[in-house]
């Protein structure tokens, strides 16, 4: 009897736990978009996870019956599955290669990921070159005076492994697995605070996070801003591509709805909210 009671209780608790796991269904259904239903599969870049999930959430409100099924396997895999037709959209956090375009893929740049290099307010350096930046982050330059700055040690601050910003930064500079960090912080805010508080510190953050507490360095003579990211002169950037097989007009209703949504005001909000620059 006692055992049975315990068993029952355990089961009850287990059921309760499972119940917690279920998502609360969004019941704010806007009536005019309910007719569009179906599934769209997206596959690709892990860096785009935040953006795609943000998009998924925002779209769930407008199109309650349209289900986005994102997978995050990496840009290469995403592009391949889009070519193979197993995914409707291939997410890639790099520009498509020519041979990929030759296989019928169309490069739809939906957002741009810009990264600013920041130093503390008392730093006089103002600008770095890409080469100097690589040397700083790989530990070959340890003092600002080596690149005409003050006689001050460099404190190299970065993000934790598996952070999208770190992935992008290291990928663009081609320093993956070579960086020597003095501090690995797990939030953009923490990087900003540490850079602002530490004399001689250098760090990187998404472009939209830069504020007055730090100085954003010019890279190869180009100051980071939305404009320089858009026109491509600022080097620390990469496109977020949602590749489709054939142009958007050739896609089905559901896929078109996604791109329409991205172009809409709500879609642009999503891009901003996850710290990206709109290519428009």
């Amino acid at each position: 009897m006692k055992k049975l009671g315990i068993l029952l209780l355990t089961c009850l608790l287990a059921v309760g736990l499972v119940g917690c796991g279920e998502d609360n269904k969004n019941d704010s259904t806007s009536t005019d978009n309910t007719e569009l239903s179906g599934k769209v599969s997206l596959d690709g870049s892990t860096s785009m996870e935040k953006f795609v999930n943000g998009l998924k959430e925002a779209m769930a409100e407008k199109y309650p019956n349209l289900l986005l099924e994102p997978q995050f396997t990496g840009s290469g895999t995403g592009i391949q599955s889009c070519i193979a037709g197993t995914a409707d959209i291939g997410n890639s956090s790099r520009a498509l290669k020519d041979e990929e375009k030759a296989q019928g893929l169309v490069e739809n740049i939906v957002a741009i990921d810009g990264i600013a290099v920041v130093v503390d307010k008392d730093n006089t350096i103002g600008r770095v070159t890409k080469d100097q930046l690589i040397k700083i982050y790989t530990g070959q330059i340890k003092n600002w005076k080596e690149i005409n700055g003050k006689d001050q040690k460099i404190v190299v601050i970065g993000r934790e492994a598996s952070s999208g910003t770190r992935g992008a930064f290291e990928e663009i500079l081609d320093v993956e697995e070579k960086c020597q960090y003095a501090q690995e912080l797990n939030e953009t805010g923490a990087v900003m605070a540490a850079v602002a508080a530490t004399p001689g510190a250098i760090g990187y953050v998404s472009l939209d996070n830069v504020d007055d507490s730090v100085i954003a360095l010019q890279l190869d003579g180009v100051a980071p801003s939305e404009e320089t990211v858009k026109d491509g002169t600022y080097a620390l950037q990469r496109p977020f591509v949602m590749a489709t097989k054939g142009s958007i007009e050739e896609q089905n209703e559901q896929v078109k709805a996604i791109f329409d949504f991205i172009d809409s005001e709500e879609g642009q909000e999503v891009i901003k909210a996850v710290g990206l620059v709109s290519p428009k």
Partner: protein
């Protein structure tokens, strides 16, 4: 009329029913914590072991290369384990003398007025959220450490400057954080030492200090040991404070290196980790769990030995 309904004494049947219901409620409450412990243990083992088979136990525990997102990922957590062990050990080394002597002061020497002030200070210390310790660490300890670092490694060409976020900062923060635990438990055990001991010692001509160090402290040995063990438990499980001050790069735990602890290792990478990387983070949790388990076993052993000595 009403009295009949409420009274549990009036009616034998209601009385026995109330007894039964109450005992069932108590059993249920007891089961909650047992279920919690068993499910947590089970969950930790289930989610922590796949990575061990995938990566290999020795590649996780005895390798010091932590590169979870590299093209050939490596998941060696030796440096992280060593950091936790050394960090906690050093924090105990600093915290125990301060804590025990404070407790001696409270229990043996201080006047009631002083005692009241110290007591309330310690209570406040115990109540401060750990993230506040971390913030204070960033504001006070880190800049000081950076000055020290600049001084010591002025001419070094190989040292990587961390801006004061290093092992020492973490140790200092931890040492302060475990003080309340150490003081409270030590004081309780000192108070439990029979007054006859003190009186006999003093009557034999020993001074007060001699009495404290030769009679009272040895008599409270087991209590102090359990205070230390609980302090270790508190220190090893601490996250927020050291996340803010330790720098979080995986390095060998040298005093001025930026280091990562077991707890901060999990917290700092959980957000975006996926696949094997995520599973290894659970394995780190399992390692931490084993540490805590061992600490608890040691504590039980000490308490048991104390009981035997008492008899």
């Amino acid at each position: 009329m009403e009295k009949e309904v409420i009274s549990i004494i009036a009616n034998r049947k209601t009385k026995s029913m109330v007894e039964k219901v109450a005992s069932i409620i108590f059993v249920c409450c007891a089961i909650v914590s047992i279920v919690a412990v068993i499910s947590i243990t089970g969950y930790m083992i289930i989610s922590g072991t796949p990575a061990i088979f995938e990566v290999g136990l020795s590649d996780i525990l005895f390798s010091n290369v932590w590169a979870p997102t590299a093209s050939h990922p490596q998941f060696g957590i030796l440096n992280i384990i060593l950091t936790s062990i050394i960090g906690v050990f050093m924090a105990i080394c600093i915290g125990v003398p301060i804590g025990v002597l404070t407790a001696v002061n409270l229990a043996e020497i201080a006047s009631p007025k002083v005692k009241k002030i110290i007591k309330s200070a310690i209570e406040l210390l115990a109540g401060i959220p750990s993230v506040v310790y971390g913030l204070l660490g960033i504001l006070i300890i880190n800049p000081l450490m950076y000055q020290l670092e600049l001084l010591i490694f002025k001419d070094s060409t190989t040292h990587q400057f961390t801006g004061g976020s290093n092992l020492i900062s973490a140790i200092i923060v931890l040492a302060i954080m475990i003080l309340p635990t150490l003081i409270n438990i030590t004081e309780t055990s000192l108070n439990a030492v029979p007054d006859d001991y003190r009186k006999s010692s003093l009557a034999l001509g020993a001074s007060q200090m001699q009495t404290i160090f030769r009679v009272v402290l040895p008599a409270a040995k087991n209590g102090i040991m359990s205070a230390i063990v609980l302090g270790v438990g508190r220190a090893i499980g601490e996250v927020m404070a050291i996340l803010l001050v330790a720098g979080n790069s995986v390095n060998f735990p040298l005093p001025f290196n930026s280091v990562r602890f077991l707890t901060t290792g999990i917290v700092s990478e959980m957000g975006y980790a996926s696949g094997t990387h995520r599973e290894v983070l659970f394995t780190i949790g399992l390692v931490l769990f084993v540490f805590i388990l061992v600490i608890n076993l040691v504590l039980t052993y000490i308490l048991k030995k104390g009981d035997e000595n008492g008899k």
